[in-house]
């Protein structure tokens, strides 16, 4: 395959990914009508991008297992996104979309970063697992926040009745 074919294929997959991301975000926003949901996506996406940009280079990936580091940070930032959204399902979607957004931005800002969407190595070793870790973190964060909100609501109700 010529270089130009590789670039065309990568860009087309990248554009498809962006379209899918925008469609899912718009549908989720119309359903939830929640600004915290979008806030969670933006915060986790931008913070994860700050980790990805200096860290993920092909040399680092080949020489060292930096992806493990990426998974754990994705989980942490997914948790933050889930905590913002306050509900389990929203947290799950928000965490996954936030981490996926960071990969889309990585494709935009990193030199020829969009090629990562075409490479199976990147896709199966980095993009999909870190998105899943982000979703797991978001789900746990949302669930914990939901539980604590329910607990504090029930406590205030008990106080009011007393």
């Amino acid at each position: 395959m010529a270089i130009i074919d590789l670039y065309v294929a990568s860009i087309s997959i990248y554009v498809i990914c962006i379209t899918v991301f925008v469609i899912i975000t718009v549908i989720a926003h119309r359903k939830f009508r929640d600004s915290d949901f979008l806030m969670g996506i933006a915060v986790s996406g931008i913070l994860n991008l700050l980790v990805l940009l200096p860290l993920i280079t092909i040399l680092n990936l080949i020489l060292g297992f930096v992806f493990i580091f990426g998974y754990v940070v994705s989980f942490f930032l997914g948790y933050v996104a889930g905590y913002f959204t306050k509900f389990f399902k929203r947290g799950l979607i928000s965490g996954a979309l936030g981490i996926f957004l960071s990969w889309l931005l990585f494709g935009l800002f990193s030199p020829s970063g969009f090629l990562s969407f075409y490479s199976l190595f990147y896709t199966f070793l980095l993009i999909i697992p870190s998105t899943l870790f982000g979703a797991a973190g978001g789900g746990i964060g949302g669930q914990i926040r939901e539980n604590s909100d329910n607990r504090s609501n029930s406590e205030t109700q008990i106080k009011e009745t007393n």
Binding site: L47, L50, V51, P54, I62, V66, F76, Y79, I144
Partner: protein, 162 residues
């Protein structure tokens, strides 16, 4: 940052166990304190440490002469982030310090955690990081507490005209 090189196959067993230990540690903290703000503070301070460390790694390690002060200052900032989430001063300090330890466990993984973090680098990097995180966390939670106290005293409930 320390990288584990691909020449060693034992990473297949070591890496999941190491990650599981980190998550178990976090789960243990959650089970003990049942405080979602503490966990959020830990994760946010750890994520900020990683972001700053990844982006300013070269600068921090180049300035060896001011490494103690440099690490103290940037962990102090991360600790303030953690403390602003917790209103209790002890919890703020705890979340800042634990966040720094987890971040260092990620940047120096596996056996390097013992060799470097609690060995060679202890006086130059670990001690100022934990101290900075704890003091920053305490200060952040003190700021939040005093701000909330002021808000409560300024906003008085309106008297009922009837």
């Amino acid at each position: 940052m320390i990288y584990i090189y691909a020449t060693d196959d034992s990473y297949l067993f070591v890496v999941p166990i190491y990650i599981a230990c980190i998550f178990l540690f976090l789960y243990g903290i959650y089970r003990k304190y049942h405080d979602e703000n503490l966990i959020l503070g830990i994760l946010i301070s750890a994520a900020f440490y990683i972001i700053i460390d990844v982006n300013l790694f070269g600068v921090l390690h180049y300035l060896l002469s001011i490494q103690f002060i440099g690490y103290f200052i940037f962990c102090f900032i991360c600790g303030i982030m953690a403390g602003l989430i917790n209103e209790d001063i002890k919890r703020g300090a705890l979340s800042g310090a634990i966040g720094m330890i987890i971040a260092m466990a990620l940047t120096y993984p596996y056996i390097y955690f013992i060799i470097f973090v609690f060995g060679i680098y202890f006086p130059f990097q670990t001690l100022p990081s934990i101290l900075g995180g704890a003091i920053g966390g305490a200060l952040g939670s003190y700021i939040k507490k005093s701000y909330n106290y002021r808000k409560k005293t300024i906003i008085k409930p309106k008297s009922n005209p009837s």
